[in-house]
C-alpha cells in the first residue's frame, strides 16, 4: 500500500465529500433560484414563447334598406394567415405558398409589412379565399408551417356597384389610424369602414373583435387552441336600417349603366321630409373588390381613373347650381316683397339683357319676350332673372341666400360632404377683387346660379324638398338625422303654391316638357351649368304635384342641358310611384347572417402514442 492507503485517505475523503455537498448545494441553489424565486417571470416568458394572439373578427352588422332588404351582409369566408418566428421563415413559406397560388411581389411586401407590424400575430396573407383554395393549402400544410386558416365573416354587397357610394367600403385598419385613435376600440387586424355608411356608422356596425390564444411550436407552427387561457369571444356589430329603397337604388344603377354608360354624375331620391331613398354616383366601383385587401392594380386604376370613381358626386361634387337656383332667387324676391307672380320686368327678353355696356345673354337666342315670374320660371328665362337679381341687390341676395342655407352643408349623415360656395356678404368680393374690382354684374350671375355659386346635389335636393313639401326642409339622412334644425323658405302658403305651380309648368309646357313626366304630375326645374368644357345638366323634380312623395334630382356632367337629364329623373320617379308591392315580394328578403366567428381548421398534429 502506498499512496492510497486507508489511513492516508481520511482527509481526502472529507475534502471530496465537502466538494460533492457544495456542488449539490450550488446546483440545487441555482435551480431554486430559477424555479421557486424566478418562477413567475419564467412562466410568463414560457407563455410569451408559445401563446399567440389570433384576432377574431366580429361580424359587422348588416345594413338593411327601409323594407329590411339586405344591402350589406356577412357570409362565411376563409382567411389565410401565417405565423412565423422570423422574417426569413416568413419569406421562405411565402415562396412555397406562391407555388400553390399566385401572389405578386407587391402583395408579398404587403404581407411582410403586416408581419413587421405585429410579429406575435399571424400575418394576413389573404382573406376571402374560397373553399377550393383552402383545401389546396390544407393539403400542402406540411410545407407551410405557421399556416392559419380561419373562417371569418366576410362582407358581401350583393348589389355591387349599385350601392358603392352609399355604403362605401371596408378595409383593415392601418397602423397610423390606430396610433391616432381614429377608430376607438379597433385593434390591429380590425376591419373598419372606409367611406359612406360603413365609415359613418362604423362604431355601431363594427362590434368588438375577440382574441383567440393559440399555442405555437418552436418553428411557429400552430399546434392547438389554448384552453387554459380564455379567449375573448367577438361581439357582433349591430345592424342598421336605412331609409334606402334598395329596388329603386338598383333600378337607378341599371338604368344609368344601360343608358348613360360613360356619363359622370349623381342621382338622388328622397322624401320631402329628408329620408333618402336612393343615392347614386357614377362612375361607381364594386365595394366587394375591397374585401380582404384590394388588389394593387384595381386600387391603382380606381385612383388614377380621370373619372374619379371613388368620389361620391352627390355629396362631394359641387357644381354651379344654374337654373335650379332661379327658384332660390324667386324665393328671395318673394320674401323681400320685390315681386309677385304677375310682375313683369322692365326689359323684355330679346335673347338677353343689356346691362351697362355689357350684354348678358339668355339661353334662348330668340328671346322670351315679356314674362311674369311664373312664365319666367317655366321658360327659365335668364333675362328676367338678371333683372330680378338687380332688383334684390347683391347684399340682400347674399344675405337671404345664406339664410336659405346655400353656404352651409346639407347635414346629410354620411360622407365628407363638400361645403357649398356662396359668399357671405359683399366683403367677399371686396377682399377678393378689391372694392373697385367688381361690379353689380356679379348679382346677375348669382341670380341665375352662376358666378361665385357652387352647390352640391344634396344641398340643392334639400332646397327642393322644402319647395315640394310645406316650405321647410330637414337635413337629408340615411339612418338618422344628425342635424335636427330645419330650414324654412319663409314664404306664405300662397307664395309657395305659386312657385309649385310654376315648377309644374316647367314639366307640363316648359323646358322639361319633353321629359315624359306630365302624366305623373311631375314638377321640377331643369338647369345647365356653364362649364369650361361641355355644360353640365341639372334636373330636380318631385311628384305627384299635389302630394309629393318623392323628390329626385340629378346632375350629369357634360350633358349640355337639363332637358336631357329630366327624362331619366322622370323614369326614376315613375319607377318609384308605380312600383307595385310585387317587386318587393320578388326582392330577396333575407335574414342577415349573424355568423359566430369560428377559428376552425387549425393544425391538428399527429398525436398518436399519447
Amino acid at each position: 500500500m502506498s499512496t492510497v492507503s486507508a489511513d492516508r485517505l481520511r482527509d481526502r475523503v472529507t475534502a471530496v465529500q465537502g466538494v460533492m455537498v457544495l456542488t449539490f448545494l450550488l446546483l440545487a441553489g441555482a435551480f431554486f433560484r430559477a424555479q421557486v424565486v424566478g418562477y413567475e417571470d419564467y412562466r410568463l416568458q414560457s407563455q410569451k414563447n408559445r401563446l399567440r394572439q389570433v384576432p377574431l373578427l366580429a361580424p359587422r352588422g348588416a345594413i338593411l334598406d327601409r323594407n329590411n332588404l339586405v344591402i350589406a351582409e356577412n357570409v362565411p369566408g376563409y382567411t389565410v394567415k401565417l405565423f412565423a418566428p422570423s422574417l426569413d421563415t416568413l419569406r421562405a413559406v411565402l415562396g412555397r405558398l406562391r407555388a400553390l397560388t399566385p401572389i405578386d411581389s407587391a402583395e408579398v411586401e404587403m404581407i411582410v409589412r403586416r408581419f413587421r407590424e405585429a410579429r406575435y400575430q399571424p400575418a394576413l396573407v389573404f382573406s376571402g379565399a374560397d373553399f377550393a383554395m383552402v383545401s389546396k393549402l390544407e393539403e400542402h400544410r406540411f410545407l407551410l408551417p405557421g399556416l392559419v386558416v380561419q373562417t371569418e365573416p366576410r362582407r358581401l354587397y350583393s348589389t355591387h356597384t349599385a350601392v358603392a357610394h352609399l355604403v362605401g367600403y371596408v378595409g383593415e385598419v392601418s397602423e397610423d389610424e390606430l396610433t391616432r385613435g381614429r377608430f376607438p376600440g379597433s385593434r390591429l387586424g380590425s376591419i373598419v369602414g372606409r367611406d359612406g355608411l360603413e365609415q359613418q356608422y362604423d362604431s355601431i356596425l363594427r362590434g368588438v373583435d375577440g382574441v383567440q390564444y393559440t399555442e405555437v411550436d418552436a418553428r411557429g407552427r400552430m399546434v392547438r387552441e389554448q384552453v387554459s387561457t380564455p379567449s375573448l369571444a367577438p361581439i357582433a356589430g349591430m345592424q342598421i336600417r336605412t331609409t334606402i329603397d334598395l329596388p329603386l337604388q338598383e333600378y337607378i344603377d341599371s338604368l344609368w349603366r344601360a343608358a348613360l354608360p360613360d356619363t359622370r354624375g349623381a342621382l338622388m331620391a328622397m322624401t320631402p321630409d329628408g329620408k333618402i331613398l336612393a343615392l347614386y354616383s357614377a362612375p361607381a366601383f364594386d365595394p366587394n373588390d375591397f374585401i380582404g385587401g384590394i388588389a394593387a392594380p384595381t386600387w391603382l386604376s380606381l385612383n388614377t381613373d380621370p373619372a374619379k370613381p371613388l368620389i361620391n358626386r352627390a355629396i362631394r361634387g359641387t357644381y354651379p347650381p344654374a337654373s335650379p337656383f332661379k327658384l332660390a332667387t324667386a324665393v328671395i324676391a318673394l320674401r323681400r316683397g320685390v315681386v309677385d307672380f304677375t310682375t313683369h320686368m322692365p326689359q323684355p327678353c330679346r335673347g338677353g339683357f343689356q346691362f351697362g355696356n355689357r350684354f348678358f345673354k339668355c339661353w334662348r337666342r330668340e328671346g322670351h319676350g315679356s314674362l311674369d315670374l311664373t312664365g319666367a320660371i317655366a321658360a327659365s328665362c335668364d333675362a328676367y332673372f338678371y333683372q330680378l337679381g338687380l332688383r334684390i341687390g347683391l347684399p340682400s341676395l347674399l344675405e337671404e341666400g345664406n339664410l336659405l342655407g346655400f353656404s352651409e352643408r346639407s347635414g346629410i349623415d354620411v360622407g365628407s360632404e363638400s361645403k357649398p360656395l356662396l359668399p357671405a356678404s359683399v366683403k367677399y368680393y371686396n377682399d377678393r377683387y378689391g372694392p373697385r374690382g367688381w361690379s353689380n354684374a356679379a348679382v346677375l350671375n348669382l341670380a341665375i346660379g352662376q358666378g361665385e355659386n357652387n352647390q352640391s346635389l344634396v344641398g340643392m335636393m334639400r332646397f327642393y324638398a322644402a319647395l315640394a313639401g310645406n316650405g321647410t326642409s330637414a337635413a337629408p339622412y340615411l339612418v338618422r338625422q344628425h342635424d335636427s334644425t330645419t330650414r324654412s323658405l319663409g314664404l306664405t302658403p300662397v307664395q309657395l303654391a305659386g312657385l309649385k305651380a310654376a315648377l309644374c309648368r316647367v314639366v307640363q309646357s316648359g323646358t322639361a316638357a319633353g321629359s315624359g313626366g306630365r302624366d305623373l304630375n311631375v314638377c321640377g326645374k331643369t338647369g345647365t351649368a356653364q362649364n369650361s368644357g361641355k355644360d353640365h345638366g341639372w334636373f330636380i323634380g318631385y311628384a305627384p304635384a299635389d302630394n309629393p312623395k318623392i323628390v329626385v334630382g340629378s346632375i350629369m356632367e357634360s350633358k349640355e342641358h337639363g332637358s336631357s337629364v329630366a327624362p331619366y329623373v322622370v323614369r326614376v320617379i315613375r319607377r318609384f310611384l308605380t312600383a307595385s308591392d310585387s317587386s318587393l315580394a320578388k326582392a330577396r328578403v333575407r335574414v342577415p347572417i349573424q355568423e359566430d366567428s369560428i377559428t376552425g381548421a387549425l393544425a391538428k398534429p399527429d398525436t398518436a402514442g399519447r
Binding site: 499512496t3 475523503v13 430559477a34 414560457s46
Partner: protein, 414 residues
C-alpha cells in the same frame, strides 16, 4: 459467489437513476411536433440498457489484475480509435457538427471517446498505483499529464470541448486521490486559470500577482516556479491567439454563457430556452409528459444533452432535488467503495470513474441552468445515447467488482 458480496445500495441507486432516466427519455419523445427519432428513443435506450447490464455482468467477472495488465493495450486502442475518428469520423445526432462517431459502412459503431475515457482511467490508475509516494514536483506530474493529455488533444481536434473537459476532470480527480497536494494541483491548473482570466487585463494582473505570492509562500522549486510563471505569462498572450483558433460557435457559446441575452436567437437560444423551461416548471413542475416548452420543441436537444431541462420543467424543483439527491447518493457510495478498495489500482479506478461521472453531471446539469457554458456532453443515466449508457453500465460493473473484492476480503469494515 455469495450474494452478500454485492453492493446492493449501489445497484439500487444506479437502477433508480436509470429508470428515472428512461422515463425522462420517454417523456422527451412525447411532443406535439412529430419527431420520429425522439419518439422511439426510449425503446432504443432500453435495448442499450439491456446490453449495458450484460456488459456490466461480464466486466464484473473480470479480475482487476487482468484489467491492470491490459490497461496500456486498451489505452493504445482508445487513442488509435480516436485518431481514426479524427480522420474518418462522422458527425451525428447532437454532435452533428463534429466528427465524433466511428462508423463502418454507414453504420455507426459508437463514440470511441467513451472507451478512451475508461482506458485513460485504467492507465492513470496503473501508473499512479505504482508510485510509492505521490509526486511532489511538477516534473513528477508529467507522465499522468501526458496520459490524459493525448486523448484530450485528440478530442479537442474533433472538436469536442465537453469531452476534453472530462479528461481534465479525470486527471485532477485521480491525482488528488493519489495524494498529490492541492497546492501542486493548483499550480498545475494555473495556466488554465491564466488563460481564462486573460480576457480582462486587471483580473489577469491580479492573478499573476497572486501566483507570485503563492509560489514564494509555498516555496516551490525555483526552476519550477519560474517555469510556471513563464507558462502563465505565455498563456496570457496565447489566450488571444487561442481565442481566434476557436470555431465561431465555440466562441459564441462562451460569450453567450456570460450573457445569454447577447444573442437570443442563435447562440443564446439554447441557454435561454433551457432556463425558461426549468424556471416555468416551478416547485412541482407542469406534470410528467406535460411540459409545454418540451412539447412544442422549444427545448434544444431535449432527449439528449438537455434532458435535465425536461425534468426541471415537468417535475419542478422537487424532481430536480430528487434527481440531484440520487446522484449525490450515487457518488457517496462510489467514494465509500473507492476508500475501502483492496488495492490502490482498484481504488484509483473507482475514483477515476467518480471523477468522470461527476464532471459529466456538473457540466451537463450546470449548462442547463447556465452555471456552466454549453458543451455537448451527456448526463449519466439520463441522456439518450448508446455508447455513453453502455460506458456508464460498464463503470457500475467495475465498481461493483471492487466492492465485491473488498467485502470478501473483509476490508469493507475498515
Amino acid at each position: 459467489m455469495r450474494r452478500d458480496g454485492l453492493d446492493r445500495p449501489l445497484i439500487l441507486v444506479a437502477l433508480a437513476l436509470t429508470v428515472f432516466g428512461v422515463m425522462m427519455v420517454y417523456s422527451a419523445g412525447q411532443t406535439d411536433v412529430p419527431s420520429v427519432a425522439a419518439r422511439g428513443a426510449w425503446i432504443r435506450q432500453l435495448i442499450w440498457l439491456a446490453v449495458g447490464i450484460v456488459g456490466a455482468s461480464i466486466v464484473f467477472r473480470v479480475n482487476f489484475r487482468i484489467l491492470e495488465w491490459a490497461a496500456p493495450g486498451l489505452y493504445i486502442l482508445g487513442v488509435v480509435l480516436l485518431l481514426v475518428t479524427l480522420f474518418v469520423g462522422t458527425g451525428a445526432g447532437t454532435a452533428a457538427g463534429s466528427k465524433s462517431w466511428l462508423s463502418i459502412g454507414g453504420y455507426r459503431l459508437g463514440q470511441p471517446v467513451e472507451l478512451a475515457k475508461l482506458a485513460t482511467i485504467f492507465l492513470l490508475a496503473r501508473y499512479l498505483s505504482s508510485l510509492r509516494e505521490p509526486p511532489r514536483t511538477l516534473k513528477g506530474l508529467l507522465t499522468p499529464v501526458v496520459i490524459a493529455g493525448v486523448p484530450l488533444i485528440l478530442v479537442m481536434g474533433q472538436p469536442d470541448l465537453g469531452s476534453a473537459i472530462v479528461f481534465i476532470g479525470i486527471l485532477f480527480a485521480m491525482l488528488f486521490w493519489a495524494g498529490v497536494s492541492p497546492r501542486l494541483l493548483l499550480l498545475l491548473a494555473s495556466p488554465a486559470v491564466s488563460l481564462l482570466l486573460a480576457a480582462d487585463t486587471r483580473w489577469w494582473g491580479a492573478w499573476m500577482l497572486l501566483l507570485f505570492l503563492l509560489l514564494v509562500l509555498w516555496r516551490a522549486y525555483v526552476s519550477e516556479g519560474v517555469l510556471i510563471y513563464l507558462v502563465n505569462s505565455a498563456m496570457g498572450v496565447l489566450a488571444i491567439i487561442l481565442w481566434n483558433q476557436l470555431k465561431p460557435y465555440q466562441q459564441n457559446r462562451l460569450i453567450t454563457f456570460l450573457n445569454p441575452e447577447s444573442d437570443p436567437v442563435h447562440a443564446g437560444y439554447q441557454a435561454i430556452q433551457s432556463m425558461v423551461a426549468i424556471g416555468s416548471g416551478g416547485l412541482l413542475g407542469t406534470g410528467f409528459l406535460n411540459g409545454p416548452q418540451k412539447r412544442l420543441a422549444y427545448l434544444p436537444e431535449q432527449y439528449t444533452d438537455f434532458i435535465f431541462a425536461v425534468l426541471g420543467e415537468e417535475l419542478g424543483f422537487v424532481g430536480v432535488f430528487a434527481a440531484l439527491g440520487l446522484f449525490l447518493m450515487f457518488f457517496w457510495i462510489l467514494l465509500r467503495i473507492a476508500r475501502r478498495a483492496t488495492d490502490p489500482f482498484s481504488s484509483l479506478v473507482v475514483f477515476g470513474i467518480l471523477g468522470l461521472l461527476f464532471t459529466h453531471l456538473f457540466e451537463n446539469v450546470g449548462m442547463t441552468i447556465n452555471v456552466m457554458p454549453i458543451t455537448g456532453i451527456p448526463l449519466p443515466f439520463f441522456s439518450y445515447g448508446g455508447s455513453f449508457l453502455l460506458s456508464c453500465a460498464l463503470a457500475v460493473g467495475l465498481v461493483l467488482r471492487v466492492a465485491w473484492d473488498s467485502r470478501l476480503s473483509g476490508y469493507a469494515d475498515v
